[in-house]
């Protein structure tokens, strides 16, 4: 066997954070190798042509929180980044009512006023206040969080800075922050709105990807998290990358290569090699070893700390935290190739309904019932669906005149009480389709192809433990100072030269790229001494 090439840095995992990290390391002049287990990079952000001409966003399907610095620093525009506006939001009810919001604030006012004139005004207040809060928090999204357990004066000072900063916030803004931390989405919504359809429209952000119902306390923070991004400078708005999120990770891959990095696919890593508490390289699943003084795991915390290395070599309090760290994936995807866009009774022929998110979850009770099934260990019999007919935005997603529809499905618990996912796969697909049929009569006749992605598929294909789409729940106990564990929230690990940069680190999942960027900042800072 020939002597393998030596790299300065090896990044494990070609998800978007691994790519971002490799991009930064390459840009800093490090000879960087990115290893991806699958045949394509992107992790959970991939686009696959499962049927000729139809491009499925298998998992992740929209973008908003991608850190703006990354776009500039890695010159992503040059490599083809193009995020299309998700211009409309459609929230249908089951009795012919609906809320349809677009790009014009005044038109939106009148649309909500059809349901409640006070809610129409209150939504403006709430949106503005959330935007102010997000602006206040953003600087902390883009910096390495303080280490709350460290006695290092710099860390102590950073913690004090954080406390002072929060204390200095406008009381109204701080008050909202406290609500998001301490209250459920439903409680906050009750304070602002009276109409259930309007509440449900907002509540969907509070449950996405998380094992919480709108009345669970943790839903407040999940909601806030989903508003932390922007589309083209509009806070809280989402976009659709040309070619899906797989199109975006292909852009990242070009950027990595543009900065001199090497990407190797079909190269699963079995373990990280280290001697005397120092990383020395990796061993691939085929037995090949590659050496490097710097190894970065873009995998989730469970894999980073308990699979790639021997947990017995780590401090037991860290291992304890990682063992208790909650994954508990509850989301699935069912994607469709369609012969035409669905029809909503009363709004026939309106393709614009689907140029954005379509939320099927018309009331807080509906969402709570869906969650109750999850708590009982089964997938929701009437699930919440977050849909988008992406071909109405990007014609290259499907053949002319045909469509592709992404449906994010809640709830689908990773652990089923009385069955298993291989048995339930088609049942899940049928249930989702039946729900779509309820809202859009005739939906089934449009289906040309159906792709079902269970939480188990997410775990097996992407490697995200228990199929958690954020690489761990977005709960206060697992964010910021605590992501993935107190004292280990600064991208380092107990093994020198071994770092973590996945969504299980700050700021978290949702295609932010922040972990990849901040880990690179930490790594390069450590190397500079």
């Amino acid at each position: 066997m020939s002597t393998p090439e030596r790299y300065d840095a090896i990044v494990i995992g070609g998800g978007h954070n691994g790519l971002v990290n490799a991009g930064y390391l390459g840009k800093a002049g490090l000879k960087t190798l990115l290893l991806e287990r699958r045949h394509l990079v992107g992790g959970a952000a991939i686009t696959e042509e499962l049927v000729p001409g139809y491009k499925f966003t298998t998992f992740s399907y929209a973008i908003s929180l991608m850190r703006p610095d990354i776009v500039q620093d890695l010159e992503l525009v040059k490599h083809g980044m193009m995020v299309l506006p998700l211009i409309n939001t459609f929230q249908p009810g089951l009795n012919g009512e609906y809320v349809f919001l677009g790009a014009d604030a005044d038109a939106n006012y009148h649309e909500i006023a059809r349901h409640s004139i006070e809610d129409a005004e209150a939504s403006r207040d709430l949106d503005h206040l959330i935007s102010r809060l997000c602006r206040a928090l953003k600087p902390w999204m883009d910096r390495i969080p303080p280490n709350a357990l460290s006695a290092d004066p710099a860390e102590v000072a950073a913690l004090a800075e954080l406390r002072d900063y929060m204390a200095s916030l406008d009381p109204e803004v701080r008050g909202l922050m406290e609500k998001f931390v301490n209250r459920s989405a439903a409680e906050i919504l009750d304070e602002y709105f009276e109409n259930d359809l309007v509440k449900a429209l907002y509540a969907s952000s509070g449950i996405i990807g998380s094992r919480v119902g709108p009345r669970s306390k943790e839903s407040g923070l999940v909601w806030l998290f989903h508003k932390m991004g922007d589309y083209d400078g509009v806070p809280g708005q989402w976009g659709f990358h040309k070619g899906g999120n797989g199109g975006f990770t292909q852009v990242l891959a070009r950027a990595v290569e543009g900065f001199g990095g090497t990407i190797q696919t079909n190269a699963g890593v079995s373990r990280v090699l280290y001697e005397d508490g120092r990383a020395t390289g990796v061993e691939l699943q085929d037995g090949t070893t590659l050496s490097a003084d710097l190894v970065v795991s873009a995998l989730d915390p469970r894999q980073t700390f308990t699979r790639l290395v021997d947990p017995d070599d780590l401090p037991q309090d860290l291992v304890q935290h990682i063992t208790e760290y909650k994954f508990q994936g509850t989301a699935a995807k069912v994607n469709f190739a369609l012969s035409a866009v669905p029809t909503f009774p009363g709004l026939e022929g309106r393709e614009d309904l689907y140029m954005g998110f379509t939320n099927l979850g018309p009331s807080i009770d509906y969402l709570e019932e869906a969650f109750a099934d999850c708590e009982a260990g089964r997938f929701s019999r009437r699930p919440f669906l977050d849909c988008c007919v992406q071909s109405t935005l990007d014609p290259d997603m499907s053949p002319p005149g045909k469509h592709i529809m992404s449906c994010f499905v809640m709830y689908a618990p990773y652990h089923l009480a009385e069955s298993d996912w291989d048995t339930e796969r088609e049942n899940l697909g049928d249930t989702v389709q039946a729900t779509l049929e309820e809202f859009f009569p005739g939906f089934g006749d449009l289906v040309l192809h159906r792709e079902i992605v269970t939480p188990l598929d997410i775990e097996n294909l992407v490697g995200l433990s228990e199929g958690n789409i954020f690489a761990g729940e977005l709960f206060e106990s697992q964010l910021f100072l605590n992501r993935p564990a107190p004292g280990w929230n600064q991208y380092r690990t107990p093994i020198a030269g071994y770092y973590q940069c996945g969504s299980g680190t700050h700021p978290g999942g949702c295609v932010t790229g922040g972990p990849g960027m901040l880990a690179a900042r930490q790594i390069l800072g450590d190397r500079a001494g």
Binding site: V71, G102, S131, G233, V234, L393, P395, G401
Partner: protein, 412 residues
């Protein structure tokens, strides 16, 4: 009452905003839908359809047509054979720009020209002064409607209706039959993207509009208003009369005038020393080029993203970015010890959603015109002037290969 273009009965129901404005006395939609960005992205991601019929259109025929244009146009009309179009400008005797436009030779000795402002009288007077007896200049503005079909799928759409446009190179022109109607197709546009402009007999306007909309359905064809067009043209580095320059014709003083070289069109005179052309303004332009007396250089400016963010974040607000397009003058200063050291101005500004940075078209003195040169651009942050770092960047800002790529395929 404003006039309407031959497409109006189709445009009317498509305009969801109900907002109309006037363009050369015609009713046009600045945008059709609430989301301006959706229209903008149709140009870059799918295909957009725009009615540009309000442009003034002139036909030059007769044995002296070419001679007249040779005299009138600052760019060599000899470089515009049959089946080609050319971007050109015409100047006054002192070498100041009167107008820019696109001229095409549609048949041997027959030229069609678009202009933003009336110019029929101007060309006829010029012909008389030259003693050109055998040229007819006609205003054919109402005889034709013009549709611009722009975007990566422009060819896919057109190909369903005709394959005549497929062999066209950038700035090529051909006649074609679309939905049974005779049209003239030019591979031109004002977006810097793949695109075509169709000259359609007014009587056929609705038939062709319907055919294009039908053929474009599978490609998300989107009616586009004039604002999205203007946003795209900034990325393409294309100047707009009335914003980036003004006609010399109605200027009061030379400070309001620009020469072609000052507008970045010096390339039109590359062969000036050899070609011996006797066009209006030649002597002045030759002197200007020889002596280097141009007062400005037109450049592209890219605002430093971090500095732009900082200016607003420091003030406690979010940087305005979404659908931000402006034609108001912004001052530019030299960076250095001296504060507010005036250097030039930006005349078009766009916060480019695609390029993820604010960009501008600007006039700077020669010494600041090299790509990479750094200047301060004055913006307003909560009603106070602030300077942000901007760098001279080579234009076009956005220049996809598809704009000039050869197309292939055959009609279905």
């Amino acid at each position: 009452m404003p006039r309407t273009t031959p497409f109006q009965s189709r445009l009317e129901p498509l305009n969801q905003t109900g907002i109309w404005k006037h363009w050369s006395g015609y009713l046009v939609a600045p945008q059709y839908q609430y989301s301006l960005n959706a229209e903008y992205y149709a140009i870059r991601n799918s295909v957009a359809l725009l009615d540009t019929s309000p442009l003034f259109k002139y036909r030059f025929t007769g044995a002296d047509a070419r001679a007249l244009l040779e005299r009138a146009m600052a760019r060599d009309i000899g470089d515009c054979p049959v089946g080609r179009a050319q971007y050109t400008c015409w100047c006054d005797a002192r070498g100041y720009v009167l107008q820019d436009g696109v001229v095409m030779q549609v048949a041997d000795g027959e030229y069609w020209l678009t202009a933003a402002e009336p110019a029929l009288h101007y060309f006829r007077v010029l012909a008389r002064e030259m003693g050109c007896a055998h040229v007819e200049v006609e205003d054919i503005s109402s005889a034709f409607g013009i549709l611009a079909l722009q975007g990566p799928h422009a060819h896919s759409v057109l190909l369903q209706l005709t394959d005549a446009a497929t062999p066209l190179k950038y700035f090529g022109v051909t006649s074609a039959t679309v939905a049974g109607c005779e049209v003239t197709v030019a591979r031109t546009g004002y977006t810097g993207d793949l695109g075509y402009e169709l000259w359609i007999n007014a009587a056929d306007a609705l038939t062709v509009w319907d055919a294009l909309m039908m053929a474009g359905k599978g490609y998300n064809i989107t009616p586009m208003g004039t604002t999205a067009l203007k946003m795209a043209r900034v990325e393409a580095g294309l100047l707009l009369m009335g914003a980036d320059f003004h006609t010399s014709r109605f200027a009061w003083v030379d400070a309001q005038r620009e020469t072609p070289n000052e507008l970045g069109w010096g390339w039109m005179f590359r062969k000036l020393a050899q070609d011996g052309r006797d066009f209006v303004g030649r002597a002045a332009i030759a002197t200007e080029l020889e002596q280097g007396t141009s007062r400005w250089t037109t450049v592209g400016l890219a605002v430093d993203w971090h500095d732009y963010e900082r200016a607003f974040v420091e003030a406690g607000i979010l940087p305005p970015r979404h659908e931000l397009y402006s034609e108001s003058t912004m001052s530019i200063y030299r960076r250095g010890a001296k504060e507010w050291d005036y250097a030039g101005y930006a005349s078009s500004f766009l916060s480019s959603s695609l390029l993820r940075k604010p960009i501008a078209l600007a006039k700077l003195p020669l010494d600041l015109s090299v790509p990479g040169s750094e200047v301060d651009l004055e913006i307003s942050v909560i009603r106070k002037p602030k300077n942000v770092l901007a760098r001279v960047e080579r234009m076009p800002f956005f220049n996809p290969p598809r704009k000039t790529a050869l197309m292939s395929g055959s009609a279905e």
